[in-house]
Amino acid sequence: MSGSVVDNTVSSGNSSAAIPTDISGQILDLDEDDDLEVFSKDTTLTDGSSLNASMQTSSASMINQYKFEEEEEDADTKDIFVTVDNPESHVTAIETYITYRVETKTTRSEFDSSEFEVRRRYQDFLWLKGRLEEAHPTLIVHPLPEKFVMKGMVERFNEDFIETRRSALHKFLNKIAEHPIFSSSEDFKIFLTAGSGELTSHKKQGPGFLSRMGETVKAVAAAVRGVRSRPQEFTDMQEYVEAFSQKISSIDKVTQRIVREQKEYLEELKECGPTYALWSQSEEELAEPLKNVAGCVDKCCKETDEQVKHLNDHLIPVLHEYVLCADTLKAVLRRRDNIQADFEAKTEALATKKADRDADSKVLSLAWGSLVGRSPEEVKQQKQQKLKGEIKEMRDELDKTEDRLEWANNALKSDWTRWQKGMRTDLRSAFIDTAERNVSYYEKCLAVWESFLQSQRTDAEGNGNVDFS
């Protein structure tokens, strides 16, 4: 990845100033170019002062880009710690909503201080995600928990739901903080540090509704056009994502089914203990062992309950995240395709214009020219001049698009590798955690029943009845 970054800087035939091919370069580009490209820029930074800030982050992000594929973030090199906790409910005349405390501890120089504490609501997280996706259409943003849960009609303010959401939001921010490019995003910094008033006004500085509409229309047009010659590696990626999406969804469903079955098993098991206890009341000699068995069954019920909870609280959220990830990946691949489609369309248009230029002058324009008193030579000259101008414009545009495409492809490729590593780590540790929990569950139940056997042994040896061979 780092190799291609360097190459781009050197070999770019772009007429604009030699731009470093990171984000800030494209921000500079924005000032000169009114034609806003789809999803390409951090369009909030229109004034100079914030540009400086972005310049600072840009150098950091440039370095991080080179580091893209190298060491994984480990605890020692981590210089920013973000936590999401402490949900609180707020009631206004119009609505009730939940805010979460977001605490940041960092040694990064671009932050004014080393500790920040703000309160954010779900909408704010959504905004941040949107901004990151806009700025980096082919980078992979970790998914947010869903807006609301349809199945089971979970109430928005249900305790479990809030905790699940809080945990997912925490993970989301940490994934952003770990990401070499996202973590130096200005929007991310503002999200972590700004007071609520400051955040609101910052949010308003986005591209206007109309220009956003324009982007969407362009995106749809590009999508309709379709990609002609998608590089094989991206086709491979798409096939992988399709398959991965299916598999991870299946695993999610299987796990949910297991939780359901376990809960029903627990319901039945809960009746066993009391039945043994009831029986013990009619017995004399048997009363003690029966009561003991009742106790054992009740203990196992408790363990089963804990085990189900663990599955629900640990494995299922991770699986769910990766189901959402699959959708994110599909969207990222689509956006990349759109950029390529755009490039291909512009290439075609340029070729057509060039063909026009090389064709003979039209008879009609010559005729017109003679009517208004210009010589055929003059008319031909004017036409050629006009075409030359148009072609240069299109040429520039095409070069910019080509650069955009190349950057998008490279960004996707390295973020893809990064994502795969992260997926592997996350899922592996989630499965290992689950396996360990299951082992622990069985070990605890084993101990319960062995203590019963032990108690019967001591009894028996005392009475001299039983042979345990």
Binding site: A243, I251, Y265, E268, C272, L278, R428, E436, V439, Y441
Partner: protein
């Protein structure tokens, strides 16, 4: 055959054989096989039924190492029922061991409720063997000749047992027991025992029901894990580094899903042990009920005797103590002649004599019944306490085994996941 039994964690038979009645000291008994037969029944219709092979061999032969071919004969379930009915009638004061259930009850979804299902037949075979050994290890029942010929005489047993006339006795007993009667002075011990029988039956039924439902659910939990196996395998095909770990983890998930079949089969044996005592509770209640009947009959006889004695007194002294229609009519229409009175007195005397004999007889019967029944009830109590405690222990051992399997599978899976 008895291999499967021996492989169970706890085998009640070893305890029974150890006790050693004289019958079991001589003879080894087993129900070795089951077979399907077809034939014509009483109304000449074609029917399919199962027969069970009863094998007996002398004890010393096996220890001498010669191992001769055992004597054997085939019997069907209805013949076992006849034997038991005979024993019930002949020894009403004994807690007669129960037969395995006639129809499958307390089934959970995987088990079949069909009598022809091979698993059901197999469990019935085991239950019938258990029944024979229970009878053979009972100090009184083991000496019964009809029982002995049931084990050894293939042909003619049916006629022999019929000749005892037990069927008629059984029918009249049944009729009497089903009638409502109240005992004036119920024996406290028997009343308590009957109440215990009721409670035992109720609580074991509940336990069997709850256990069956839990087994059903546990089956579901394990089997769903099999889906992990399938999906992991499919997923491993698209992954590079993760592929091997996923694939092998998947195999362990399949193994986990498959392990539940053995686990629940073992639990079924435990359920069978509980069922035996469910039916034993019924046998216990039957003894108490029969005692009640005996007591009632004694009370009736005593009551009858008292009233006859009173009549004699009245007739002899001419005083009417109790209101009687005869007395009224004699007052109204004049007294009887001295000859008539003499005749009546003589008849009453005879009746009183007979009545006293009857009361004596019934009293004796009652006392005998109480004595024998109570001895057997104490024996039963000891047996029950021992057997059920062993059953609970074997249940704990089963649970431990299940946990150990779980630990192994998930540790293996964890190792595979680590290789992802």
């Amino acid at each position: 055959t008895t291999e499967t039994q021996k492989n169970r964690c706890w085998n009640p038979q070893s305890a029974m054989v150890e006790k050693g009645t004289s019958l079991l000291k001589k003879m080894e008994i087993s129900v070795a096989e089951a077979e399907k037969r077809t034939g014509k029944n009483a109304v000449n219709m074609q029917e399919t039924y199962t027969v069970y092979l009863i094998e007996t061999r002398p004890v010393d032969a096996a220890s001498e190492g010669t191992n001769p071919v055992p004597d054997s004969l085939w019997r069907r379930y209805s013949e076992f029922e006849q034997l038991r009915n005979y024993l019930l009638v002949t020894y009403p004061f004994l807690v007669v061991p129960p037969l395995p259930e006639k129809r499958a009850e307390f089934v959970w979804h995987k088990l079949s409720a069909d009598n022809m299902d091979p698993d059901f037949v197999e469990r019935r075979r085991v239950g019938l063997e258990n029944f024979l050994l229970r009878v053979a290890s009972h100090p009184d029942l083991s000496t019964d000749k009809i029982f002995y010929s049931f084990l050894t005489e293939e042909n003619g047993w049916k006629e022999t047992v019929f000749e005892t006339g037990f069927q008629a006795k059984a029918d009249s007993r049944l009729k009497a027991l089903n009638a409502t009667f109240r005992v004036k002075n119920p024996d406290k011990r028997f009343a308590e025992m009957k109440h215990y029988g009721d409670e035992l039956q109720s609580v074991i039924s509940q336990l069997l029901r709850v256990r069956a439902r839990a087994a059903d659910r546990l089956y579901g939990v394990y089997k769903v894990h099999g889906n992990y196996g399938r999906v992991f395998s499919e997923w491993s095909a698209i992954e590079k580094e993760m592929g091997d770990g996923l694939q092998s983890a998947g195999h362990h998930m399949d193994a986990y899903a498959a392990s539940v079949d053995d686990i629940l089969e073992e639990e079924e044996h435990y359920a069978d042990q509980l069922k035996e005592y469910l039916f034993y509770a019924d046998a216990l209640r039957a003894v108490c009920r029969k005692h009640e009947l005996t007591q009632y009959e004694l009370e009736m006889a005593a009551q009858d005797l008292t009233s006859k004695k009173q009549q004699r007194e009245e007739l002899a002294t001419g005083t009417i103590r109790t209101f009687s229609l005869k007395g009224m009519t004699s007052k109204l229409f004049g007294q009887e002649t001295p000859e008539q009175r003499e005749a009546k007195l003589k008849m009453l005397e005879t009746q009183i004599e007979e009545g006293e004999e009857l009361v004596k007889e019934r009293n004796g019967e009652c006392e005998e019944f109480v004595k024998s029944a109570w001895v057997d009830i104490e024996r039963f109590k000891e047996q029950k306490d021992h057997d059920l405690r062993e059953a609970l222990i074997s249940y704990a051992i089963m649970q431990i085994s299940m946990c150990k399997k779980g630990i192994q599978v998930w540790n293996n899976a964890k190792e595979c996941f680590s290789k992802m």
